[in-house]
């Protein structure tokens, strides 16, 4: 009889030690299942928000794409390329970690999107503005998606641990404890019988 990685010694000391371990594992199990529930409760609204922002972004993208296609067809790739070549600046994103139940998720502190203001004339400025707005939506989506992904990954890991504790480790430990208790009880019964027999033998000797 052995719990994974543990050589079972059917002794009283080992039994007490195992009971302590089981108690700690039960505490851990309780904590982890609370974490699991909390992560699930955090993940659900996050996914709902992500779905909402995504559908809003899809409408924006559809609209911008429609305008862009028309402008592209009207002005041709060369003119559109020349306009695109005009936009200077880099997209700068500042990300800080946000801890949710010990899970480190990214949080967008600020984003500097190259401005299209005062740069483009008609008819490209409306598309340029729409595309600028899409970049903002993309950043929000990326932030929420990476947060959801980090939470989901941790949730998966936590769930695996909770399940392993619940289905394998705790039952095995309980079984081992039961086994040791049985062995100890058997041993004490044996001892009792032995003592009784010795007592009877001594009584018999004293009588003769």
């Amino acid at each position: 009889m052995a719990v994974v990685g543990l050589r079972v010694r059917p002794t009283k000391g080992f039994l007490l030690e195992l009971k302590d371990v089981l108690e700690t594992i039960r505490e851990g199990y309780k904590l982890l299942s609370t974490k699991r529930d909390e992560l699930t409760s955090r993940l659900k609204p996050l996914i709902d928000e992500l779905a909402k922002i995504r559908s809003e972004a899809m409408v924006e993208i559809e609209e911008a794409l429609c305008s862009f296609r028309a402008i592209y067809g009207m002005l041709g790739p060369d003119v559109v390329d020349a306009y695109a070549a005009m936009n200077r600046g880099l997209l700068e994103v500042h990300v800080v970690p946000l801890s949710i139940m010990g899970v480190h998720t990214p949080m967008l502190r600020s984003a500097e999107i190259p401005s299209v203001k005062d740069k483009f004339g008609p008819p490209v400025r409306s598309v340029a503005t729409k595309l600028g707005r899409i970049v903002q939506s993309f950043l929000k989506i990326v932030e929420l998606e990476s947060r959801a992904e980090a939470i989901a990954l941790d949730l998966e890991r936590t769930n695996r641990i909770v399940n392993a504790l619940e289905k394998i480790i705790i039952p095995e430990l309980e079984e081992t404890i039961r086994y040791i208790e049985d062995v100890l009880e058997e041993e004490s019964l044996e001892e009792f019988v032995r003592l009784k027999k010795i007592r009877a033998l001594l009584e018999r000797r004293g009588g003769t």
């Binding site: 305008s67 402008i71 592209y72 306009y83 004339g121 008609p122 729409k130």
Partner: protein
């Protein structure tokens, strides 16, 4: 001499692609089908020489035809009309300059082969494209007498605002001012119509410019600077009020004569507004064509129509080549 030109324009007008045919071309499923459709038009002779068909090849073909038509018109015009035509066509030169300048902002390479270069408007685009930056390019432009003053003003504005928008506005102002001056070169009976076309064009430019603060948050001093004053039908004080307007209903009220165009701008559909503005000028010219059949303005109308044909054909080719949904695309045809 002008009678010869006008009669030839009448003959050539019949060869332009009709709106129904253009719509049919737009419905083509592939570039091959489009070329087949084009083979029923005046373009058939040029299509024969094509070794292969792609969007770029067709764009160059249409642009060559457009350029040769403009040059034909110039060659066959009376001397005074030639000078006017050169000024009238300067907008293509300005568009070319802007193309070069836009690429100069980030130093991306310029393909001058794709510009609409006209033999009667010589400009050293190679030198412009080789300039290291916007300021140097504008300085180089200043060596051309036409752009001397505009170059100085443009450089100053570019330094002040750090954007090409005021530069574009200066060049456009130069264009409209010089065409307005060149109106005196036209026979008296043509001046009114051409002057009206120019005034409408200026108004439309100002419509696009003046709403930029309200719609896109552009800086009001810059927008005010960009307005073309004193050449349109609508007074510049109206456009100044539009710059300071706080609601779209106020804009619509102020720019009521251009409601169709302004509505599309306010809805953020600038491509539709652009098409509507071209249609507006086209309709204005067509509505007067009956009474001007033997005037020089008829030649100008022919020019506007073949420009629309060029723009529509380019659009149709891009729509077919890049699979733009046809139900949306039909709204972007100028001739529709």
């Amino acid at each position: 001499m002008s009678t010869y030109l006008v009669v030839r324009c009448h003959a050539r007008m019949r060869k332009l692609i009709r709106p129904e045919e253009m719509k049919r071309l737009l419905r083509s499923e592939s570039l091959e089908e489009l070329v087949e459709g084009l083979s029923r038009t005046e373009y058939r002779l040029l299509l024969k020489d094509l070794k292969h068909v792609d969007v770029d090849v067709l764009y160059r073909l249409y642009t060559d035809v457009f350029r040769s038509r403009l040059e034909w018109l110039y060659r066959n015009s009376p001397e005074r009309f030639k000078d006017f035509l050169a000024e009238y066509c300067r907008r293509f030169e300005i568009e070319n300059i802007m193309q070069v300048l836009r690429r100069k902002v980030t130093g991306s390479p310029v393909d001058i082969g794709r510009l609409v270069r006209l033999s009667f408007l010589p400009m050293d685009y190679k030198a412009l494209s080789e300039a290291p930056g916007v300021s140097e390019c504008l300085e180089l432009l200043g060596k051309t007498p036409t752009y001397r003053k505009a170059s100085v003003e443009s450089r100053e504005l570019y330094e002040r605002y750090g954007t090409l928008l005021p530069v574009e506005a200066v060049l456009k102002k130069l264009y409209y001012t010089s065409v307005s001056k060149a109106l005196s070169l036209l026979p008296r009976q043509d001046r009114k119509l051409v002057g009206e076309v120019l005034a409408v064009s200026v108004d439309i430019e100002n419509c696009f410019t003046s709403v930029a603060s309200l719609l896109y948050g552009y800086s009001p001093p810059l927008v005010r600077e960009m307005l073309i004053r004193g050449l349109g039908k609508i007074s510049s004080t109206v456009f100044l009020r539009v710059v300071d307007a706080s609601s779209t209903s106020e804009v619509l009220e102020l720019l009521a004569p251009y409601r169709d165009v302004v509505e599309a701008i306010l809805e953020g559909r600038e491509e539709v507004a652009y098409v509507r503005s071209r249609r507006m000028i086209r309709d204005l010219l067509l509505s007067r064509s009956v009474e001007r059949t033997m005037d020089l303005s008829y030649a100008l109308m022919y020019m506007e129509l073949f420009e629309d044909e060029w723009r529509d054909l380019c659009f149709v080719t891009y729509a077919v080549g890049y699979n733009i949904p046809r139900e949306d695309a039909v709204n972007c045809l100028i001739c529709a």
